[in-house]
Amino acid sequence: MGVRVTTGRTLLAAAIGLGVAFSAQAGKYPDIGPLPQLKTNKAKAELGKRLFFDKRLSGDAGISCADCHVPSKAYGSKTALSPGYPGNGHFRNAPSLINTAHKKVWNWDGRIGTNLNDMTREMITEDYIMNMDMRIMQERLKQDPVYVKMFKDAGYGEPSNGSVRKAIPEYLKTLTSRGAPFDSGNLSAAARRGMKLFKGKAGCIRCHNGPLFTDQKPHNTGVPENFDVFLDPMNHQAFLAFAMFQGIPDYMHLKRDPGYFNVTLEKKDMGKFITPSLRELRYSAPYMHNGMIKTLAGVVNFYNRGGGKDSNKSKLLKPLHLTGQEKKDLVAFLESLSGKPLTSGQYVWKQPYPSEYPAIENWRQVRN
């Protein structure tokens, strides 16, 4: 292994020894509750929607944002590992984009902490994701009369890279949870019991708190590696390209996803990933940064065992001793955090895209 984690075992043992009383701590964390709806500009969001589903935003025009962020999967990945750009695979599970506009940090490793404008650029330009030279993208958009009108109507003037990086985030603001039983207060009895466990005995709220159900901080929960990252050269090459670009030492020998380590390059952050939101979980299986757990019951069992095996694992994790009924209640609560699927034409661009670019007429005479 390239980078070994050599500290943490004693701390973990100490934490177990203390036997923290979880239920008494719920009040210490930002409370869970409904998310505020975001105001959006309709013309800009509509433009962003057309861009999001347009394959011409990738280098070889082979994939759109929606190839990894699939609407029926709560705008997350269908497969454990995202497909990535043609010619390679990927090494992580694309997270749901529903409510992404409420986040303060993006990517499983938290490497973007600014805004969705930067995230949009990152996803479009990264060579194993969409591999787009945005200068070519801009000229493609200018060649499509529908875009020329939509950019103008949105107040952006002519199509430009900068406006794409604004319009897609505007569209993403429309992707927020709608009608989740938790938000509407229609919780079943089982879900109510689950919520109590969530805040108490199971201790989920220590990381999954606030209206997004995440502290947006990095934690190592010991999720096992997905060996397909390394056994499938398509995925491994994407991982290597990522690791090279991030400046991760000894990347050729790395047999694990370093997670937040790639942001700090400090050993204490090895294997940490940003706490994911729990909203829309009903649609976004499989779970975890690498899709290693297929069902919510599996996730609950994982935490009930005290998480996975890692010397750098968070000391917050320890066996929970949940009964079979308690586990079911917890799953019922988790399921109540999902709203209606956002798969209608309100959210998904359903019109066809032109199969070729029309020539600009009278080209010699008009300004480019």
Binding site: M1, R4, V5, S58, G59, D60, A61, G62, Y85, P86, G87, N88, R121, E122, T125, D127, N131, M132, D133, M134, R135, I136, Q138, E139, R140, K142, Q143, G222, P224, E225, F227, F230, L231, D232, P233, H236, Q237, A238, F239, L240, A241, M244, F245, M252, K255, R256, G271, K309, D310, S311, N312, E356, Y357, P358, A359, I360, W363, R364, R367, N368
Partner: protein, 412 residues
């Protein structure tokens, strides 16, 4: 790596400008439209010295820091034909430099990366080893830098260093071959360009009828070709620029080639046209108004260089149609007619930059027989077609075993 190409492009442009300023300081001071080559020719006309004569091709120059070895050449051949040296693993060197299309691409514009079309004609790799300048505007000075630029260009290979290097690291045969040739544990991207260049330096042709003739075999050229040679060196004036062993003075001229009409009719070509203006550092006004390829101007940023391109070598041209930087002429007949008219096509179209057009280009008054003789001579600059079987792509294999991964998992 992210495709953040703005800064590197600016650096490259700045470097190019410095280099070019050094070469062209004189030209900038006097006749704006005349390049160094034009001036040399003008001086030649005044009787000081003539252009270098046609000469047989010697062995290609080998850079001291990239010596040829059989293992390196063999590795370079594998890489040249491997589409994984590109963005989506579909577009490698041979994609646009196809052996059966003259080690070039038999359309006006090179085919380009999927989802794009290029905006210039793909040039043959054959004899590229001899050229101190590569690409139509001379923007690379070695095979090594040409290979790198082509593999990475947005409408060519669209590859990034890290993903290409990562792919090669996961192909055991490449790991072994790079280790043997370059001594590295994993392939390094700069060694990819070195190996490809070594292979390209074997794609030379030195036994054309012209070479044989120049080496003393007076039967190597027909009567017709000999008459064509006399025209080439005399009345038609071709030798003013197409001279020496490589049949190119490697200078830049505007010979009057008209813009390719595809830019008026083809949306995909219009996209690339604007992208190139943007990518090559045009001014805002230049981007808005350009309607043809400004050529060497993009590198020199000297208005006197608009529409100028590097003199194309004539060797191997029997296999490399269509011709000119934008492939507007599909036959040698069209090319000769174009020069005979003084740089106009059959519709009377010419460069959009008449002010930079070389004074060397003027109507030639060739008869039909003379044109036929000239073409026959041009054909003597090509020998047998160079063809070869494409090598099989070495397969990927996982770098680690499941047991190694399990052990690493246990050790976490």
């Amino acid at each position: 790596m992210k495709k953040m190409k703005f800064a590197p492009t600016m650096v490259a442009a700045a470097v190019a400008t410095v280099l070019v300023a050094g070469c062209n300081a004189q030209a900038t001071k006097d006749q704006a439209g005349m390049s160094a080559g034009d001036k040399a020719m003008a001086a030649a006309g005044a009787g000081t010295s003539g252009p270098p004569p046609l000469a047989p091709l010697g062995p290609p120059p080998i850079p001291p820091d990239n010596q040829q070895t059989p293992e390196k050449i063999e590795l370079g051949k594998l890489l040249f034909f491997d589409p994984r040296i590109g963005g989506d693993a579909s577009t490698g060197c041979s994609t646009c430099h196809e052996p059966e299309q003259g080690w070039a691409w038999a359309e006006d514009f090179s085919r380009g990366y999927p989802g794009t079309v290029h905006w210039r004609n793909s040039q043959t790799v054959v004899n590229s080893a001899y050229f101190p300048r590569q690409f139509w505007a001379g923007s690379a000075s070695s095979n090594e830098s040409q290979a790198r630029s082509a593999a990475k260009g947005g409408v060519a290979g669209n590859g990034e260093d890290d993903i290409m290097e990562a792919r090669l690291a996961l192909i055991p045969e490449y790991r072994a071959r790079f280790k043997k040739v370059f001594g590295t544990d994993y392939p390094h991207i700069f060694d990819v360009w070195r190996a490809i260049s070594s292979f390209e330096r074997t794609l030379v042709q030195r036994d054309t009828p012209l070479d044989k003739y120049l080496l003393g075999d007076k039967t190597a050229l027909s009567e017709e070709q000999l008459r064509g040679k006399a025209l080439f060196e005399g009345k038609a004036g071709c030798i003013q620029c197409h001279n020496g062993a490589i049949t190119s003075d490697q200078n830049f001229y505007n010979i009057g080639v008209p813009p390719n009409k595809r830019w008026e009719e083809d949306g995909l070509a219009q996209i690339t046209f604007r992208f190139e203006q943007y990518a090559k550092g045009q001014t805002e006004e230049g981007y808005r108004t350009a309607k043809s390829d400004w050529g060497f101007y993009y590198r020199s940023k000297n208005p006197g260089d608009k529409g100028k391109f590097r003199t194309a070598p004539l060797r191997y041209l029997a296999y490399t149609a269509p011709y000119m930087h934008n492939g507007v002429f599909y036959t040698l007949e069209e090319v000769v007619d174009f020069y005979d008219r003084g740089g106009f096509d059959e519709e009377g179209r010419t460069t959009l930059f008449p002010e930079t057009k070389s004074p060397l280009i003027k109507p030639l008054g060739l008869t039909d027989d003379e044109k036929a003789d000239l073409i026959a001579f041009l054909e003597s600059m090509s020998g047998e077609e160079i063809l070869m079987e494409k090598p099989e792509q070495p397969p990927y294999a996982p770098l680690f075993t499941k047991a190694e991964l399990k052990a690493a998992q246990e050790a976490k």
